[in-house]
């Protein structure tokens, strides 16, 4: 039974992950990510980590995904073309990227499948009663990982501060009567990676959305 569930959840997780990167509509990407995260939660359940599974569903598949959906709706639904960057020398770069990506994938397969297949007919680590319960996790957070716990809270604080700094976009050093920051940004071509390699300028709305991206990145990094 556990083996059947494992393979169902495992296939779901892999398929969801592939869906995230291959869907051209961002909304489908988000939905695929939800499927991926729920499959991961099922895998956590099989590992007897009930609390982590519940947290995964509530926090990631629930709260964080709602945020993503909001952002996708806010930015607007557009089908992303496959190759947005017609960079000079793009073919060589793409070829190189495919080569290195493939090499990395092979290496990871050797490492993960190699060790995983060796252990496939063994029993795995023993189960200790109480493992994975909220009580035990709380215990660890307040004893062994107390410092990490406190540091993570500071990380969230400073990520929020950083997001406010970037989002406020109104400097103190600005002379009176100077144009609003947003209008300057629209006049400038905002320095994104796509522009750095010579992609055509996109509309003002998407450029502003690009500007907002670092904030969300901050939030994700902190939320880890």
């Amino acid at each position: 039974m556990a083996a059947v569930l494992f393979f169902i959840a495992g296939i779901g997780a892999v398929a969801g992950a592939i869906g995230v990167i291959s869907a051209r509509n961002p909304f489908y990407s988000v939905l695929a990510l939800v499927a991926h995260l729920i499959s991961l939660a099922a895998l956590f359940l099989l590992l007897r980590a009930e609390f982590v599974a519940a947290a995964q569903v509530i926090v990631y598949a629930g709260a964080v995904m709602v945020l993503y959906v909001f952002v996708v709706s806010y930015v607007g639904l557009r089908d992303e073309p496959w190759h947005t960057m017609g960079a000079p020398g793009g073919a060589a770069l793409r070829g190189g990227a495919a080569l290195f990506g493939g090499a990395l994938a092979v290496e990871l397969m050797i490492a993960l499948l190699g060790t995983g297949l060796r252990a496939v007919d063994s029993r795995g680590a023993g189960y200790v009663p109480g493992f994975g319960s909220p009580g035990q996790i709380g215990d660890l957070l307040l004893t062994k990982f107390l410092f990490a716990f406190e540091l993570a809270s500071f990380l969230l604080l400073i990520a929020a501060v950083g997001a406010v700094v970037l989002a406020r976009r109104r400097g103190e050093g600005e002379p009176e009567g100077a144009p609003e920051a947003t209008s300057v940004i629209e006049a400038l071509r905002l320095g994104s990676m796509a522009e750095a390699v010579g992609a055509p300028a996109s509309t003002a709305a998407t450029r502003l959305a690009e500007l907002n991206e670092p904030d969300q990145g901050e939030g994700r990094g902190g939320g880890w």
Binding site: G135, E172, P175, G217
Partner: protein, 536 residues
């Protein structure tokens, strides 16, 4: 009842407040500085926030010196306070304090808000302190994130200048890839060894015969890549020139000096403590990375006309030199790396302080033309820059020479003589571009400042691209900002900036002093090297 049970069962860890004090000073300072950002008057915010940031750095420095010679694990093994952590901490805190001085008149701190700006600098430094003391992969990763996230924001703090925003975005994207790679590698190492503590990882590798386990080796490889991203080791350096050029120059200084020290500190601790038994596996890979870094950095710097890009490529090359001390995995190697990190702080502070000063004086940005004729017009800026360039190239009678000597000696003693030869050849190549800066300062006539003054009321557009410059002028033409908070653009050109010039002179003098009398720094580095107990 369950509450009572929980209270009865839980025994919190012993918290060594003394050992934590440098980090607490920085984090506490960050909170206080953040609150000062709420003060109603702009001048109060500027003066008090930067002043309190300096006080926090001074307190952290004092706490670090107070803890000197400690050797203890604190908060149930999360951190290890020993001379290696404390020595690197001295470098980090000095770099942070210097950043505050350089930011004193910068546009960036005004645009981001003074309280927030200095709080971000303090927090980033605290993350670095955590990183170099980390003794557990969880603390390691949190330290990396706590240092990176404020830096992503700090790079973009010149909010009205597109290269700065571009730099922040690039650093965010590439830094996140680096962090994710590192995390994946740490997860694999945990999977192979079953532990997150460095000591337990070391004993699992030594006793379990894991040194050739594919899972562990892949984990190590991913960790190397992640840390190489952070310390800008080639071929993971592509972000470095763009980010260094686009970021506000005081922040570039901070990134160049402090981030590198922190990344090399954790390189030393993680590889020489946790993974020391697998040294035969990772040492050749690190040596190859060091070689690539030295070649790419020195060749890449040859064609640069922007001083910040030149120093960025130079930083890539220097990262290669510094890695040599990690490769050999001996106490002599650790000593050489820590010594060179301290020297690297001094020479880069001198060079970047001059770049900051000239950016604000000339309006030529960080182009090499900004320092032309400096020898005749501003000898007190030309001398520190000259010393810094000669020291970075490794000319005798400067501290850079002594540092390279130790690194080459450590490589030769550790069985990597060829790496020592690569360092020598790399230094010879590097003379070509370092001397170009020196020649520009002493042998060319100065630029005609009158013309540029008329052209640009906002002179401090560091590395401003031609397309960005007209926009920047557009934003500032309506009214010249009043003197004071407006930073370098404020009214009259900053003729004399005592804190920047003083910093350049002090760092330059220290570079020469430690080149002639290196023993104080050698003692510091020896204590740091000896605190790695598992090495010889």
């Amino acid at each position: 009842m369950s509450v009572a049970l929980a209270a009865a069962r839980l025994h919190g860890p012993h918290i060594d407040w003394g050992g934590l004090s440098p980090i607490l000073a920085l984090l506490g300072g960050a909170v206080v500085v953040l609150l000062v950002g709420l003060a109603p008057r702009r001048e109060v915010r500027r003066l008090v926030a930067s002043g309190l940031a300096l006080v926090a750095f001074a307190a952290a420095l004092g706490c670090t010196i107070w803890q000197w010679d400690a050797s203890k694990s604190i908060v149930s093994g999360a951190l290890r306070v020993d001379d290696l952590a404390l020595a690197v901490n001295l470098i980090l805190v000095s770099a942070g304090a210097a950043t505050v001085l350089l930011s004193w008149r910068a546009r960036a701190s005004g645009e981001a808000g003074h309280g927030e700006f200095y709080a971000l600098v303090l927090t980033s430094t605290a993350g670095m302190s955590v990183l170099v003391a980390a003794q557990n992969t969880v603390s390691l990763f949190l330290g990396i994130e706590l240092l990176s996230i404020p830096l992503y924001v700090l790079c973009a703090t010149e909010l009205h200048r597109s290269p700065s925003l571009e730099s922040g975005l690039k650093y965010l994207v590439i830094g996140s890839v680096g962090s994710a790679t590192l995390l994946y590698g740490l997860a694999m190492i945990y999977g192979a060894t079953g532990s997150t503590d460095f000591d337990a990882i070391a004993s699992a590798i030594a006793s379990g015969g894991l040194a050739s386990d594919p899972l562990l080796l892949t984990g190590i490889a991913l960790v190397v890549v992640g840390l190489a991203f952070k310390s800008s080791v080639a071929p993971f350096h592509q972000w470095t020139p763009d980010v260094y050029e686009g970021a506000p120059t005081p922040i570039t200084t901070f990134m160049a000096v402090a981030t590198k020290a922190a990344a090399l500190g954790i390189f030393l601790r993680f590889f020489d403590v946790a993974l020391v038994s697998a040294q035969v596996s990772w040492a050749p890979a690190l040596a190859a990375l060091a070689t690539i870094s030295i070649v790419v950095g020195n060749v890449g710097a040859l064609g640069q006309s922007s001083l910040k890009r030149l120093l960025a490529y130079s930083a890539v090359a220097q990262a290669g030199y510094l890695l040599a001390g990690v490769v050999v995995s001996t106490r002599a190697g650790a000593r050489a790396t820590v010594f060179y990190l301290a020297v690297y702080l001094l020479m880069n502070l001198a060079a970047f302080a001059v770049v900051v000063a000239r950016e604000r004086e000339t309006g030529l940005g960080d182009d090499i033309a900004a320092v032309e004729g400096l020898g005749a017009s501003r000898p007190w800026l030309a001398w520190p820059m000259t010393i810094a360039m000669l020291s970075l190239a490794g000319i005798p009678a400067t501290a850079g020479f002594v540092g390279k000597l130790f690194l080459i000696q450590a490589s030769a003693d550790g069985g990597y003589t060829w790496l020592g030869v690569v360092i020598v050849v790399g230094s010879m190549v590097s003379l070509a571009y370092y001397l170009r800066v020196v020649a520009a300062m002493w042998m060319r006539p100065g630029p005609s400042l009158g013309a540029t003054e008329a052209a640009s009321p906002y002179p401090a557009i560091a590395g401003g691209s031609p397309e960005a410059d007209p926009d920047a002028i557009g934003t500032s033409t309506p009214a010249a900002p009043p003197a004071g908070d407006g930073g370098p653009g404020a009214g009259a050109r900053e003729g004399f900036q005592p804190e920047v010039v003083g910093l350049a002179l002090a760092a330059g003098a220290a570079t020469v002093f430690f080149g002639i009398v290196p023993s104080p720094l050698v003692d510091l580095a020896r204590a740091a090297g000896n605190s790695l107990l598992g090495l010889f």
